[in-house]
Amino acid sequence: MNMKSIDCIDLVELVTDALEDALDNETLLSILDHLPFCKGCDDYFNQVLVTVKALSQQPATTIPPRLEASLMKLYREWAERSVVA
């Protein structure tokens, strides 16, 4: 174990900071020391990773044709006024 050991209840509050590379070395080491020996925290850490992955897979919204058409109209009107041939 590292000099500074960490409890599960505190580790769960540091997952985002760990993923964002925002922890000091000592704290990061205490997490890395803890995880291999604690299935609860290891599973929790993985749950957060799965959550982030699920968020990244939210389906994109495609533009409704009606809105696309009206945005194209805006552009044509703008181009007629603003673009010098």
Partner: protein, 206 residues
């Protein structure tokens, strides 16, 4: 978006414009929904944004990327339409103060040889099949979970995790510093994780 695209846009190239409108629509619409009571009103905010983009195109100096510039305009437009302060608000202290626990303290021991450790096993999601993660039902749970978040948390998780933007880009759009972004992201992810857990393994009622 490259300088060439920007040049094409200023020249009146419809194809370049259409491609950009399509590419940015999802992010713009998702952001607009945060401030809008309906999809129709969010679409109006998107439309007003493009109008402002075209008006400002000549003056765009390229100090920020085109996409962060456009999203900033969207946020200002949508906030103004919702009756909120249109300029970037100072970071809301209300959303970082007060008690917060990523996991209910009831799930950890208070006494015994290992205080602060898990009382029971945590669900193992490592074998969750990919198609389950992509399923419409699970994705709807995620969408609903994000929609329920406090506004600033929702802004940050939308840009960082759903759209995959960097902290620097999110700062350009929302004016929230990295440290505060992490606090908001942590709270938002914790809430979404909790709701996903409730969906994947509904709590057993006694």
């Amino acid at each position: 978006m490259t300088d060439v695209d920007l040049h094409a846009l200023r020249r009146g190239d419809e194809r370049a414009y259409r491609a950009m409108v399509k590419e940015y629509h999802s992010a713009l619409f998702r952001l607009a929904l945060i401030y809008s009571p309906s999809r129709a009103i969010a679409e109006e905010a998107v439309q007003e944004t493009w109008l402002a983009v075209l008006r400002g195109l000549e003056g765009f100096e390229g100090k920020s990327s085109l996409r962060t510039w456009i999203c900033r305009i969207l946020v200002n437009v949508a906030r103004r339409r919702a009756g909120l302060e249109s300029r970037t608000l100072p970071f809301s202290v209300l959303e970082t103060e007060g008690e917060f626990a990523a996991v209910s303290p009831d799930l950890f021991t208070r006494t015994g040889p290992w205080p602060g450790h898990w009382k029971a096993e945590t669900d193992d999601w490592s074998r969750l099949p990919e198609d389950k993660l992509l399923s419409r039902e699970l994705q709807d749970v995620v969408t609903d979970a994000v929609a329920q978040l406090p506004r600033t948390q929702r802004e940050v998780i939308t840009l960082r995790d759903i759209e995959g933007w960097s902290a620097a880009e999110v700062f350009e759009v929302l004016g929230i510093q990295d440290g505060n972004q992490r606090v908001l992201l942590h709270r938002a992810r914790s809430r979404v994780r909790q709701l996903l857990q409730d969906y994947l393994a509904p709590p057993v009622l006694n």
